[in-house]
Amino acid sequence: MFFNNLKVAWRSILKNKLFSFINVIGLSIGLCSSIVIGAIVYFDFSFDTFHKDGDRIYRVTTLFESGENEFSNRGVSVPLMKEFKNGISGVEVSAPFMSTYFSTIENKAQDLVFRNENNGILADGAYFEIFDYNWLAGDNQTALSEPAQVVLTKIKAEKYFPHKNVNEVIGQTLVYNDSVNVKVMGVVDDLKQNSDLRFTEFMSLSSAKMFGESDFTTSDAWNGTSSGDQLFFKISEGASVPNIQSRLDELAKEHKNREPWAVNDERWFRIQPFSEIHFGGKHGDYPFNNSNHVANMKVLKSLAFIALFLLLLGCANFINLNSAQALTRAKEIGIRKTLGSSKKQVVRQFFGETFILTLLATVLSLVMAPFLLRQFKDFLPSGIDLSVLYSAEGIFGILLLMLLVCLLSGFYPAFVLSKFKPVSVLKGQFSKGDKGVRLRKTLTVFQFVVAQVFVIATFLVAKQLHFLMQKDMGMKTEAVAYVNLPWNDRSQIKKERVFNQIKNIKGLSQVSWGDNPPASNNMSSTILSYYKDGNETHQEAQILTGDISYLKTYGIPLIAGRERLNDSIDEYVVNETFARAIGFQNPEEVVGTSVKLDTVKIAIVGVMKDFNQRSLRSEIRPLAVRGHYSRGFDGIHFDLGNNPERWTQIVDEVEEVLVSVYPDEELEVRFMDETVKGFYRQEKSAVQLLKWATGLAILISCLGLMGLVVYTTERRVKEIGVRKVLGANLAQLNILLCKEFLILVGVAFAIAVPISWYLVQEWIESFAYKTELSWWVFLTSGIGMAVVALLVTGARTYKTANINPIESLRNE
C-alpha cells in the first residue's frame, strides 16, 4: 500500500511537471532559509552548553546609574572578589579572574621568544571547578595554588614548547614580561565545543601583582570597575538567587562612592546567568574582553521570523497550487472511491505526494544551503558552518521541519480533495461552486503582503542607511585618515620621529596629534562641575584629546573664543551643546568661564561648532577638547590633501614610515570615512539580509502567482473562446484575465503599507537622525510589485488569449 502510494504519487508529480517544479522550488527556498537560519540560531545557542551544572553558574556584573543614564560593565570592582571568596551564603564556589596581557614570554630552554600574547587570564583553581576542562597533564587541584604558576591550553603548550608532549611540559619554566619566572603546572585540552571562554593561558591569581593587576585580597578599590575583572560563581543546589542578589545590594550600598561629584550616581551589582552571557544581557556587552562576537537576540529573532515567513510562503504556494489542481485530480479521486478507496486512503495518498515533494525540496535546499550561507558570511561570526546539519540534532531538526512542512502544506489539499463525492465527480457536476477560491485568494494576498512588506522595508532601511552615510556630520570625513601608535611602546622619541616623517610627506595638508578621531565608538566621558549663581551643577561631558591643530585637521570651525594656547595647557574648547547644557544660549558668553574637574579649575577658551561625535543613532552630546595628559598623544591624524591621485601614494608612504619606526608592530592607517561607515555595519548587514529575503519572497510569490494564473486561465479557456467568437480583442481579454490578480496585489499592498510603516517606524526610532518615510517609497514599491505581477500574469494570459477559439470550443 505504502509503496503503491509513493509510486502513484511519483507518477502524478512527473505528470504535472510545471506545478511540481514550482512546488519544489517554493518549498526548497523556504526550507533552505530555515535550515541556514536554523544553523545560525543554533550556533548562538550552542555556546557553553557543555559545562556540568551550567544552569547553576552565574556572573556578577555592574550597573551604573547616573541621572537618567544607565551603563553596564561586565566586570566588578576587585574587593567584591574577596567578599565572595570569604563566603556568601548560597554560593558553592566562586571563581574570580582577571584579563591580562603578556608582552613577552620566553622559553629559555629552547631559546624561543613570543610577543604580545592575548587571551591570558589570572585565575585560581576554582575556575576549573566551575568550568569543565579536560586535563591532559598536571593536577587540577593544586595547579594554580601558588604565585607564578601557569596552566596552558594544548594549543599554547604546543606553541611555547614545540615538539614536546604535554607531560614533558609540566614543570618547565617560562619567563613572562622579561622578569617573572613561571612554572607550567598543567595542560588542559582546548575547548572543542563552542565557547565564549576563549582563554588559553591561566596564570595563578595570586601572581596578580607581578602582572600589574591589583591583588584582590588586599585591594580596597570599591569604586574602580574594569571589564577584565570577572567574578563567576556557582550557587549551591536549592539556593536562591534573589537572596544572593539582596546581599549584593547591601554590599553595593555599603561601598557606595562617597565623593561629592558622585552624589547622584548609583552602582549596583547584577547577577547574570551564564547562559545569557553569549547574548550580551540587557546592554549587549561582549561576553569577555577578548570576545569578538556577541549574539544579538533581536537579530536572531528577526532572522527566525524571516525564515518562518519564507517557509510559510512556500507552504502557501503548495496549498494554492494543489487545491487549484483539485479539479484535474477530482476524476481520479472519484474513480478511486468507486473502486473502494476510503477517504483515509485518499488522504494518505496525497500526503504521500506532499512527502515526496518535500523530500525533493529538502534535498535541493541542503544543496543550496552552503551558497546561501556564504552570502551572509560577512556579518556572521566566524566558525559558523553547516556541520550541525549532519549531527544527530541537525538531522532530527531537518526531519521535524520536513514533517511540519508536510503537514502544513499537505493538510488542506488532502482533505479538500478526499472530500469529493464520487458520484458528482463522475457526473461532472463538481466544477460549479469552487470552494477553494477564497482560500487561494487569501493565501495569494498573504504571499504578496509578505513580499511587499519586505520590499518596502528594504527600501526604507536602505534609504535610512544612505541618509546616515550622506548626512554631513559637521566635520571633514573625506580624505582624512589617522593611525594609532602602539600604546605599549612609550618611547616619545619614536613617536616624534613618525610624526615628523609623516609631516614631511609631500601633499599632506594637515598633520596633527590626537588620540581618538572626533567620531568613534570609544569615547571617554567625565563629570565637570560648574558654578552658577552660587550653585554647583554637574555636567557630564565627553572628552576629546588633540593638539591645537586637531580641530583644523577635521575641519571643525571655532565659532567663538580662541584655540588653546598649547598642547598640554589646562584649557577646554567646548561644543555648542555643552555651552547650552550649562545654560548659555549664546556661545560667546561661555568663553572665559571655567569648570572644575575634580579639584582642578579649567578655563573654557573657545566654542567649536557642533558635530556628531558618534554614529547618527545618538544625538550630539556635550563635548570638550583638551590637550594631552602627561604621556602625550597616541595617534596621528592627517588630511590627505586635495589631490585624489596622490592619496594611495601618500598612504603607502605613511605605511613605510610606520614600518621603518615600528618594525614589529602591525599598524593600520584608518580612514575617517571608513570609520563612519563602520558605525553602520549592522544596518548594512540588515540591508543585505533584507535584500535576500525580499528577492526570495518575491520569487516564491511570483511562482505561486504563476501557478495560479496557469490554472485559472486553463479553466477559462472555453470562456475566452466564447468571448473571442463574440468579438473581444486581445487587449480586452488580457485585461479581463489580469484584473483578478492585480486586485489581489492591490489588496496586498493596502495591507502591507501600514504593517511595513509600523515595522520600519519601530526600527528607525533607535536613530537620533531619521530619514523621512516618504510616501513615494511606498508607492514605488507598490507599483514595482504590480509591474512584476503583471509580467508574470501577462505572459500567460497573452498566450491563453491567443488560442484559436476553434481549438478551445471543440467538443470532445
Partner: protein, 220 residues
Amino acid sequence: MLLQLNNIFKWVTTGGQRIFLLKDINLEVEEGEFISIMGPSGSGKSTLLNVIGMLDTFDEGEYNFMDESVHSLKEKHRSNLYKQYIGFVFQSYHLLDELTVKENLEMPLIYKKIKGSERKAMVADMLDRFNIVGKKDLFPAQLSGGQQQLVGVARALISNPKLILADEPTGNLNSKQGEEIMELFKQLNREGVTIIQVTHSEKNAEYGSRIINLLDGRMV
C-alpha cells in the same frame, strides 16, 4: 434475492419546486439476472444506477441489498458493502491515467487489503482470462477505446463482485468493439454474475434478460 428497491424517491429543489429525479421506483433483482435500463436522456437511468451502486443517496424509500438495509447504513458501512459486492463499468472507462493496465487491475484489491502475492495471482489470472497479458505494462492512453473498456470490465470483475453496474459501457465504442463487450457481459452473466446496465441501444438491451424503461424518473 440480491437487492430490492421499495418506493424510492429522489428529488432536487430548484426555485422552491421539487423536481423528481426518481419517482416511486420498485424493483427486485434476483441473483443471475441481466437487466438493461433504458429511457431517453434525463429520464433518471444513471441516477437509478448510482443509487443501486450506493454512490448516490435517495430521499425516500427503502433499499435492501443482500438483506442489509442500505438506507439505514452509515456511509462507511455502505462503502464497505459496495466495495465487497459491486463492480462498476463506466462509459468513459475511468481508468487511472498514471497507472499501467496491471496496476489499474490491482487497485481495487489493494483497497480491499488483499496481500501482495495473492494480488499478483489474481491480476495474472484476470489478464489471462481477458487475453491482455501483452498489454499489462501499457498505460491507458496507449490503448484503444475497446481495449480500455476491456480493462475497465476486468477491473470491475477482479474482486469477484456479485453485481456489475455498467453505465453505457459501449457508449464511446464503435459497433464492433461494443458487440465484443456485450458478448463478454453475456458470458459473464452465464457464469453467474448479476449485471445491470444502462443503455440507449435497443440492440444492446436485447442482451439482457429483462428491460426496465424509465421516463421522467418513473418506471413504465
